[in-house]
Every structure is written in C-alpha cells, then in structure tokens.
Amino acid sequence: MAEVEGISGQEGNFQVKVRQKPRVVDMDKCIACNLCAEKCPKKVPDEFNEGLDKRKSAYIKYGQTVPLKYAIEKETCIYFVKGGNKGVKGKGKCRACEKVCPTGAIDFDQNFQDEIKEINVGSVILTPGFKPFDPSAFDVYAYSKFNDVVTSMEYERLLSSNGPCMGHLTRPSDGKEPKKIAWLQCVGSRNINKCDNGYCSSVCCMYAIKQALVTAEHTTGDVDQAVFYMDIRSHGKEFEKYYEQAQEKGIRFVQSRIHTAYPGAEGGVTVEYFNDQTGERVKEDFDMLVLSVGLETSKGSIDLAGKLGVELDKYNFAQSSSFAPGTTNIPGIYASGSFQNPMDIPQSVTEASSAAASASVALSSQRGSLTQERTFPQEKDVSAEEPRVGVFVCSCGINIAGTIDVKELSEYAKGLPNVVYVENNLFSCSQDTQVLIRDKIKEHNLNRVVVAACTPRTHEPLFRETMKDAGLNEYLFEMANIRNQNSWVHSKEPEKALEKSKDQLRMAVAKASMLEPLEYLSVEVNQSALVVGGGISGMVTALGLANQGYETILLEKTDRLGGNAWNLTSTWRGEQIRPYLEDLISKVENHSAIKVYKNADIKANKGSVGDFVSEIDVAGEIKAIKYGIAVVCTGGHEYKPDEYLYGQDDRVFTHLEFDKEMSEHKPALEKAKGAVFIQCAGSREPERPYCSRVCCTHTMHSAVELKKANPKLPVYVLYRDIRTYGAREDLYREARELGVIFIRFTPDNKPRVSKDGDDLVVVAKDHVLFRDVEIRPDYLVLASAIVPAEHKNLVELYKCGLNTDGFLQEAHAKLRPVDMSVDGMFLAGLCHFPKSIDECIAQANAAVSRASTILSRSVMPLDSIKSYVTENCDGCAICVDTCPYGAISLTDYDRDGSMHKKIETNKALCKGCGICEATCPKHGVYIHGFTNEQLRVQLLAALENV
C-alpha cells in the first residue's frame, strides 16, 4: 500500500520519498478476525482471483498475507466513495466495519489520508514483478467474447482450493466440470505481430504442463488435455523429466498454433489448427481453452523506472550487463526478478539474493550499526518443581467465543491435572494481557503456561517472549489451537467444537506438564569462507565474499583459474568474455582477503556450519584449513559425444571446439559449402535426460555469426525444440531472418551422419516436406550436453546430495536454490545445473548473500528443538544413515570397564526433524520438545474418553 514518489541522492545515501496509502485499519489492533469483511456491504471483484469472484471493500488480499491484517479499500468503500470523510452532510453513513470491529482497530476519523514518508537508505532494489499479458486484443482467440476462454492466471485461480470454485474445477460459462481442455502457448510472447513482445516468457511451458498435470487432482474422472505449442521449453533443473511425465500421463502435446477459436455448440470453444502430421486443417471441440499468457512489465513499473531514471531495454525490462546481473545504469539501484527478465521462481530467488549481495557491498562497513538487542531477566530454574500449569483461554473477541463457550472451557481447564490457574482473556495476544500473564506467572508461581487461542505458527514467538520476560524458559510453553483449527472451521457446530476444544486443551496441558526447559544453543562462527572451484562462479563468489570483508580461501584443482570461460568467446548478449575473465582473475589473485590454492583438492573434512575444519592437498602438500561456510562451484564440462561420427572425422566439432576453430581459422568460411548444427547431442537422452539449457542459445549465436561472416553459407540447425528463453529469442529470430534453415527431428528419427568418399553426409527428415534431406557440410557442430563435475569425494566428505543426473542438490528446488541441505554450504554455477555466464554470476552473487547471513555474526544462535541421545541408546546405528543431515555419528565409550557403543548428535547439523526418533527401535534418541513420551501423552489425552 505504498508507492515510491521519487528518489534523490546517490549510492550509499539515497532519500526515497514514499507515498503510504491509508489502510484505515490499525495494524497493531487488527486480529484478522474477518468481521469487518463479513459486515461490509460493498462487494467488488476480487483481483487476487482475477476478478472471477467477489470480495468486500474491507478485505485481505489472500489468506497467506503477511502481515495478516485487513484493510479498507478507499476507492470502493461506500463511506469514502460517498464523500463521508470530506464532511459532506448526509453522506457516507456506512461505517459498519468500524462498529463491528472487536478491537477498535478501525477509525474512519483517523488513518484515512495518504502519508508521505522520507526514507534514508544506502541502496535500492527494484522488484516490482510482472503483469500477465492481457489477450483481449487477440480477437481470434475470442478471450473477451467467450467465457470459457481463460488466461492461465485465471485458470490457476480456478484450480486453487482457495479460489472461486474452492478447487473443484468448473468452467465459467455454465459451472460444469470441463472434460476436455486445451492450452495455447506463447500468447503475448514470441510475438511481434499483434504485440511487441518478441521475447520468450520462459515460464509458460512449465506452468501449462503443471496446470495440465494438476488438473486431474481437481476434477473427477478422465480429462482429455492438449497443449498447443511451438517449442516446449523445459530448460530448468528437473523440468525435462516433468515434461516426460506429462507425456506419459497422456497429455497431448500438439505442435501447432491454434489460429482461431469459435464458439462451441454447448459452451466451450471449437479451435481450428493445422495438423502438421497430416497436412490438414482440423477443427476440434474443447470445453475450455486456456491462453498461456506471457509476462510483461506493467505500466506502473515503467513509470517507476522513469521516476528513478532507470533505463529499460526495448522490451521494458531493466537494462543489465551479463557480467553484473541485477545492476542498472544508476549505481546503487539494482533490479531483480521478472523486472529484469521473465524468469521462474528459483531464478527469481537466486537473482534476489544476488541483488541483495550487490546492494550490501557498499554498506558492508555499516553492518549491524542500527541493530538493538533486547534483554531478559535471569531465568528461574524450575526443573525440580512439580508442574504448575497456568491456562489462558482466549476469546479472540468473538472469533473463538462466538463458537466455543469459553467460560465452560475455562471451567473445564480448572479440573485438568497440574492446572493451578485459569483465566479467560478477551485477547490473549494483546499487550496488556502479556503484562497480565507475566504477573500471574509470578503471583501463582506458574512454571508451565498453556494459551488456548490461535496458531503457534504465528503467535508462539510472542508468548515465548512473555515467558522470558517472566523469568521462565521459553520452551515451557504450549498452545492449543482452538481458533484456526477449531472455531473458524467448525463455526456451525458449536457443541462439537466445544468438545474438541476441551480435547485440544487437555492435550496441550498434558504436553505442557511434560515440557522441560531447553538450553539456548549457539555456535561460534569462524567468519571466513572456503570456495571450491576457480571458474567464473567460484571467482565471483570469492571476490564477493572478500569484498564483504570475509577472509576467503579459493581452491582450484587445475593450475590456473578461469575454468570453462577460457573456451568461450562472448556471451549471448555479445559481450567479450576474455577481458572480463582476465580482469576477474587479476582481482581475485591480488585481493588481500583471498588466498588462492591451485592444484588443490579437499582430502578430509569435519565440523559443521560455523566451524568446518578440512585437510587440503595443495600440489602434494597437506594443509589444514578452517572456515565457517563453504561455497561449492565445482562446475561441469562439455560432454564428448559418441555419435554423429564425432572423433572419427575432424569436421565434426563440439560447440567449444567449433568456437576455437572459428577464432583460429575464420577465413576458411569463405570457401565453405555449409554448416550443420545438431542439437541435443547427449542431452534429453535416456542416460542424460535433462536439457543442457544453454546449447540452443549457443547455436543461435554461432549460426548468426556464420551468416554474418558469410551470408551465402548454407547453415542448418537440426533440433528438437528451440529453447532460446527470455530475450535470447531475438537471436533465434535473427537467425531465421538471416536464412538459417531449421529442421526438426524426434528422438526416434535422429539425423544420420555418414561419409561418402571425402564428403560428410548428414541426412535428416524434413518436417515440412516429409522427405529426407541430404546435406554435405564442411562443419558439423554438435550442441553437446553439459555434464557435472565428479562429486563423489565431496558427497562423502560433506554428506551433501546429488540429483539423479549427478548435479549437486539444492536445499529446496524453488525456495532455496543456492543453499545446500547441509547447513553452511552453498552452491553456484554448473555444478548445480547448466546455465549461462550471467546466470552463473547471479548465482555466485546469491551464494555470497546467503553466506553472509551466517558470516556476518560471530555467534550463530541455533534453535533448541534438536535431537538428543537418551540412556537407552546402545549403538545399533540404524538411525545413523536415516539422518538426512548427517548429524548422527557412532562412538565408543567406556562403561564400568567395558567398551560399548552409542550415537552422538551434532547440534549444529541437526534440524530437529526427528526421523531418528521414529527410526529408533528402543527410544534411544529423542527430539527436545517432541519426545516420544511428549507425543504419546498428547495421544493418550486425545483418546482419554474413547
């Protein structure tokens, strides 16, 4: 609800003028009870559900909103629209929400004016996101004419369980469940005819496949689904497998563009397209047509860029360089996410961390200067005391009390074992109740507290602070979730809800009585880093860390830095790589905070986040090193094909070999008869089922160069799908314009390469002519796969994971694309997945940013919910392998003169998941706060009356 009005100043010291629009609702008082929305008489289209249903003027945008606070929309609210706030007599009388709000959070006489705020910052990051393309202008798809033609964004909402049809898919025209659905790709992307979006939006193929796969979960019976596409672009990590899975599940992929949509006989649409297998025009009926709309920059974002003076490219994305992704033309202002380029979630998350790293370099000297720490009284030792439980039952206004008889629940609580004090509060989370809870803890000498209210996921931290304020260990606290998981979901069954709330409270009290104070854990952080691999990713990471002020060790296994970049000439944007590379190497080698070891490898490792200790072999000499975090940038290399006469004829090259050939013998092109590129050499094959992401762009780049050098040279590209995502699509268009000939092949009919005398003969079946075409080129370039470095050693030493293709596994495919599952370890570059230089640099920057979250503090606090070994453990070691974090090890110990075994758990590695607890056949290992006994008493309490 805020907008940037303008900006002044410069890097390190910007003044940002922000217009804060009124929420009308006081955020400190709002408890998100929804009563204002319930009472609000004004219905308006719900923009979150793409206008497919209605919301009120008093609203939250969606259920997961953070913070979960309501707002009154001034533009539609009856009171404001009728001028009530302007003191117009007899106008604007509604104010219904104000009257019904139980906490007095709504005040129309206050908080209704725009506020202008001045904010002083050192750096600015622009992340305004994208706007889905509006297909109304494409009359042939009849989006504005037929209700059953929807955009993919609308379809997404139709599928959603909190969308307009509650997750049970129905079509808009008549509310019937669709049985046959079509997707049309590239609506508003790869199109310079009806719109100016010449770029590929990068994400639509995958979201269409996802929607098609997920549709089955939201419908009954079989659904016939067809995706009409130009090229399927599943170039991300694990994406190709997902595409294959969709094909196996029977989703039809039709390589054709629907040219017109007609009204269907009974709702739905009839689409007409050209079947390139039969050469016929086909009319086919569908119940729904989903337009896979592209991503574009919104007008608001363009205006924002204008106000800030940030230059945009011809497609209105922030102008950036491959070597400094996320920077703009203005120092100190950065861009990330789809404002830079259309991109998917993992790439956006990576770019966001990258921008954060760039933005914080200039600020690193001021790190921590504005933070304050809270202090708490000395903690009281209650371990020897009998449990004395205090219960606070929250009414939450009428949110709980309106359904559950809280008075009876409070009475019931008094009779529960160990309960010595019970009180009912109107709002247990209010500030004065915190004071009250603290006082009651002291007054009644409580040593355990149970709050029956909302969810611990949002409110436990608040009450834990109160526990600490009262001098109690914060883990002596338990919640009973009688709002989110009771009164709100059983509002029509008050009696059963009361019974359930009693059970919930009894379970919480039973668990509370078993709770024990937990130790606050932390690890001391060695504020230095190890970077493994001295290619571009590794060097950018090392330089980034060093520029943030951290001592960094860079290991390179060969005798020179640079890796694959030595073999590359220019980026897809045409920037020369060699000067950048040489400059980067010199910066790295001359940086006082970077220690480079060449011919180096890791031999042994122990320790964990904050405190790793390794042995490295540097040209035969063993050294011990210590560091707090590690970034793995071990890279990958070009696959050497075993087909298409590779290695048997010196006219057959890989991409990198061909680049080298061109840089050395370019004049030979003058006399050449032709060049052929074969795509997917080693990629998208059974033994390497992934797409290598960069090869299509590389081929386009080379093909364009060839055509520019010798326009008469026949150039052919034999391909399966062209995957020039984002603005790389321009290269593909340019190649076609320059006369490069594209011939599509399928895996069951791959091009055949043979020799006829001295001639190299390539035969491929032309997909338009349906006939074999014979080409006799001088150059046959194989767009060969990228394969990951060998990681066996690393996996053994650090217990990190690989995916089935041998690339290192990130902690979460979407949300943590730079972290590894081992705490304190990060990854960047080709070891993660094939990617272009700009993407490698962004990921390396992101690794710097992620690593800084650990390295910036000398002590890292740890959660206390960790595993611990009980006296029952006798070292059978079954749990050791089940720990996903490698936190468990086996040790010998002496007991009464004889040797026995037991496990030890590493607190820094343990995440408290408890798989060990569930594995152990003898209660030998537990998780603090979730021991088998603690779960069991809840279970017994739940079943007490059965």
């Binding site: 611990p456 059983h490 359930k500 408290g912 998941c913 607890e917 569930a918 059965v946």
Partner: protein, 67 residues
C-alpha cells in the same frame, strides 16, 4: 467425544506443511467435520510407528500422518 458413534481420528501434522495448511483452512473459513485431533510434529518423519499402532489400540478409528 465421549458418546455416540462419531469416528475418532488422530492426526499427526507436520508443522511446516499440513499444520500450516490446517491453519490456512481456518483463515479461509473452510468447514470440515470436528473428528480429528491434531498433534503438531516438526516433521511427519518423526512419528514413530508405535504411536500409530498405539492410537489404534486405544480406540482411534483412524490415524492421519500428514506431511
């Protein structure tokens, strides 16, 4: 749940997904039967099979492990 023939279901809900989902069902005011009693766990992987067996032994009609 003292009386009647209402089935009793014990649910072990992962804090990070299923429990959050149950909370969101509340925020969205979805209505569902009252029969489940939820036990919050930090990962559905921490639920020992013995707890499931014991729940059934002690009269639960069903056990949900959600994660």
């Amino acid at each position: 749940m003292a009386d009647n023939n209402e089935p009793v279901i014990v649910g072990f809900l992962c804090n990070w997904c299923a429990y959050a989902g149950a909370d969101l069902a509340g925020v969205s005011r979805m209505q569902y039967p009252t029969n489940m009693r939820a036990i919050r766990v930090m990962c559905s992987g921490m639920v020992h099979p013995n707890l499931v067996v014991e729940a059934l032994e002690r009269g639960a009609d069903g056990v949900l492990v959600l994660g």
